[in-house]
């Protein structure tokens, strides 16, 4: 179970997250939607430990991160948390000096100490599942944006995370590729993965997310099953956003 309770994040005097609470049941996808500056990216960075939370709790399976923990205990739990949470960044951040396979086996071999042969076997299975077997020995600089994204997904999944985070996965894709990404993510959910997808595109989330969290100004304005939020948004701000989003998407 992934549970976030009254999560707050302050930078100096400004509060970016103002008490966010939600749950993600196993084997489901939560879509986090909102305009830029709504705090959705900060939320993602709190979930993978790249930002220190100011108050509240983040729970991913057995790891429970609390703002009140001592510094050393907090750091220890962040380490544990990062092993449970995989991230696909908006700009992927593949390691340019390593081949595609090298990117995928780097953390399993050096962090989990998986034998190299085993890690390579797993990597080729993952590459097959994202349709990138042909590029195993190539280097990230020679891949298109869509290909890099698939490698980044494989790299994150190689660590067997309990939760996969995706930050704006559609920003680098043309419409045709958006459809195939949606299908790909759904196959991973069917295999038992749990995901949180940050996006500004309701159209993309509609076909992939089970639940949707709409954020504005650091507040979770609306949270519910995707169909309900889309068909009958309760909050005026959600309605406005969906009207403007529909016209641009």
């Amino acid at each position: 179970m992934i549970r976030v309770t009254d999560l707050r994040k302050r930078f100096g005097n400004s509060e970016i997250l103002k008490g966010i609470t939600f749950e993600v049941p196993p084997q489901t996808v939560l879509g986090v939607i909102g305009a830029s500056g709504s705090g959705k990216s900060t939320l993602l960075r709190c979930l993978n430990g790249l930002e220190t939370i100011s108050s509240g709790t983040v729970e991913v399976e057995t790891v429970r991160l609390e703002a009140t923990l001592s510094h050393s205990e907090y750091r220890k739990r962040v380490k544990d948390l990062r092993l449970k949470v995989g991230t696909v960044f908006q700009h992927f951040y593949l390691f340019p000096h390593l081949s595609v396979v090298g990117n995928i086996i780097e953390a399993p071999v050096h962090v989990l100490h998986t034998p190299k042969k085993t890690a390579e076997t797993e990597a080729s299975e993952l590459l097959e599942s994202v349709g990138m077997t042909h590029a195993a020995r190539r280097y990230p600089g020679s891949l298109s944006g869509g290909e890099q994204q698939r490698v980044a997904i494989a790299r994150a999944l190689a660590m067997h995370p309990a939760l996969l985070l995706l930050d704006e996965p559609t920003s680098a894709l043309d419409p045709r590729r958006i459809n195939s990404l949606r299908a790909l993510l759904r196959t991973f959910v069917d295999r038992g993965h749990t995901m949180i997808i940050i996006s500004h595109s309701m159209g993309f989330l509609a076909g992939v997310a089970d639940n949707v969290l709409f954020m504005e100004g650091g507040v979770a304005v609306e949270f519910g099953p995707t169909d309900e939020v889309m068909k009958s948004p309760q909050d005026a701000r959600t309605k406005d956003f969906m009207l403007s989003a529909d016209s641009t998407d």
Binding site: R82, L83, F89, E106, A107, V111, S142, A156, M159
Partner: protein, 487 residues
């Protein structure tokens, strides 16, 4: 009116410009310690006496011992008066006056050293002396390993510090610099007898006649004896040498005295250059290793360290970048022994250049590390890597590619910078060139040979670096293949 008077006075009093090396030049000619803007010395007083006898005004031109002959030929001064020996090789280049002094050689060792009692005990020991002198040629003839110095002070100090086993100098210099040093002692009596003459340009026969007459005059009237006595240089050899002139019966028989000849052969020169090149490579590669290894903690300390460490690293970098490497080497070589650390010359050069280049490399590294986008760190962290692992496996290899071209650049210039080691008498290529060329006059041909040696070292290195760069770049720029068909 003034002008006419002025010119008239110059015309009336012709000058005698004389060249000598005053650095470490006692008791010949040197800076007066009590009065640093004046030169003193027995030869200074002798030239004044000679000039007076010639009706000229003496004018001293400070110069370098090793380049005296070429400076004379260039016309920087009219005569060399610097304890010059009438060697066979110099006779081909310049003209000699009559002799004015009989010198002997003295071997000096450390007081507690009982192994060496004469020059015959010096086989396979390193003996220091001034390059291109009677002493250095004697050592060469006997096949004794020789370390050339630019002045006696450095030679005797290295003897004290056990960097060499013995020092050999003309008695006047030995008497002034070593005789009263409690840590040193003379090994055996003074030996061989040689001549000091004045050097003149070929074709300057009129001036030679003038100088010869003046030498006879100051010997005859006892002026030279007075000067030599004042400086403690009057001895039995001078009495014997001056007697015939003083009695007016006959002139000195030059043949009675030893003169040494420098023998220059190309095989020997090339062999010595090759050895010098090996030393250069050793120094360059060794200091490279120090620079590469030490540069990294410096860069990381300055980049991510706590503020005290950042300050310390910055201090190091600014100190080594902001002071000349030559001064750093001199400090390491002559200053460190005060604290009981006396490294041999080659090691001093290796360590000194290493410490110096580490400062430069650290800046290359820091710029390269800072150029790696923060996303690379975040991606590593989010895969569960710790900072050390992320640095070692992800950041450093990428930074290395960026650092490679400026590093290559630095290391090619490091090969050339090894030449500063000549200041501390290390027999590397620049020293070899200077000494061999001065001894032989073959500045041009030896210059070509030495340049070839330097290029033979730096070109392969630059080539290797280019290959490595290309390999790294080709990976990143692999052709983007046709995208696969939509699923």
């Amino acid at each position: 009116m003034w002008l006419v008077l002025f010119c008239g006075s110059v015309e009336a009093q012709k000058v005698l410009r004389w060249g000598a090396d005053p650095s470490g030049g006692a008791p010949y000619v040197f800076t007066d310690p009590a009065n640093p803007d004046q030169y003193i010395g027995y030869e200074k007083e002798m030239v004044d006496a000679l000039a007076k006898a010639m009706g000229r005004q003496a004018e001293f031109v400070p110069s370098d011992w090793e380049t005296l002959v070429s400076a004379l030929q260039r016309g920087s001064f009219d005569v060399i008066v610097n304890g010059l020996e009438p060697t066979g090789d110099r006779a081909q280049q310049i003209l000699f006056s009559k002799p004015y002094y009989i010198f002997q050689l003295q071997l000096t060792v450390r007081r507690d050293d009982n192994r060496i009692n004469s020059i015959d005990d010096c086989k396979n020991r390193t003996v220091g002396t001034l390059a291109n002198t009677a002493a250095s040629r004697l050592l060469e003839q006997r096949g004794i390993p020789m370390r050339g110095y630019a002045d006696p002070v450095a030679a005797y100090r290295d003897l004290e510090l056990k960097r060499i086993d013995a020092v050999i100098f003309d008695v006047p210099a030995e008497a002034f610099y070593a005789r009263n040093n409690p840590k040193l002692k003379p090994a055996g009596a003074p030996f061989t007898r040689g001549l000091y003459v004045i050097g003149l340009r070929k074709g300057d026969d009129a001036l030679k006649a003038e100088v010869d007459a003046a030498i006879d005059k100051i010997i005859f009237d006892g002026t030279l004896e007075t000067i030599l006595k004042k400086w403690g240089l009057w001895n039995e050899a001078q009495v014997e040498f001056q007697a015939p002139i003083r009695s007016g019966t006959q002139s000195t028989k030059v043949e009675e005295y030893t003169t040494t000849n420098a023998t220059f052969n190309w095989r020997e020169a090339l062999w010595r250059l090759t050895r010098a090149a090996a030393v250069t490579v050793l120094i360059a590669l060794g200091s490279m290793v120090i620079a590469v290894v030490l540069g990294l903690p410096l860069a990381v300390g300055q980049w991510k360290g706590p503020s005290w460490l950042r300050g310390l690293c910055t201090l190091y970098v600014e100190f080594f970048r902001g002071t000349p490497v030559l001064v750093q080497l001199l400090f390491l070589y002559f200053g460190l022994p005060v604290f009981g650390i006396a490294m041999p010359g080659w090691l001093t050069a290796l360590v000194g250049l290493g410490l110096n280049y580490a400062a430069y490399e650290s800046q290359v590294y820091r710029a390269s590390l800072e150029a790696i986008p923060n996303g690379q760190w975040e991606a590593s962290y989010s895969l569960g890597m710790g900072p050390m692992l992320a640095f070692r496996r992800i950041i450093l290899p990428q930074a290395f590619r960026i650092a490679l071209p400026p590093m290559t650049n630095d290391f090619v210039s490091l090969f050339k910078d090894t030449s500063v080691a000549y200041a501390i008498s290390v027999w590397e290529l620049a020293t070899a060139y200077r000494e061999l060329a001065n001894a032989s006059g073959q500045f041009l041909l030896l210059g070509v040979a030495v340049s070839a040696f330097y290029l033979a070292m730096s070109l392969p290195m630059a080539h290797l670096a280019r290959l490595l760069e290309r390999r790294l770049r080709d990976r990143a720029l692999e052709r983007v293949e046709e995208e696969e068909a939509p699923a």
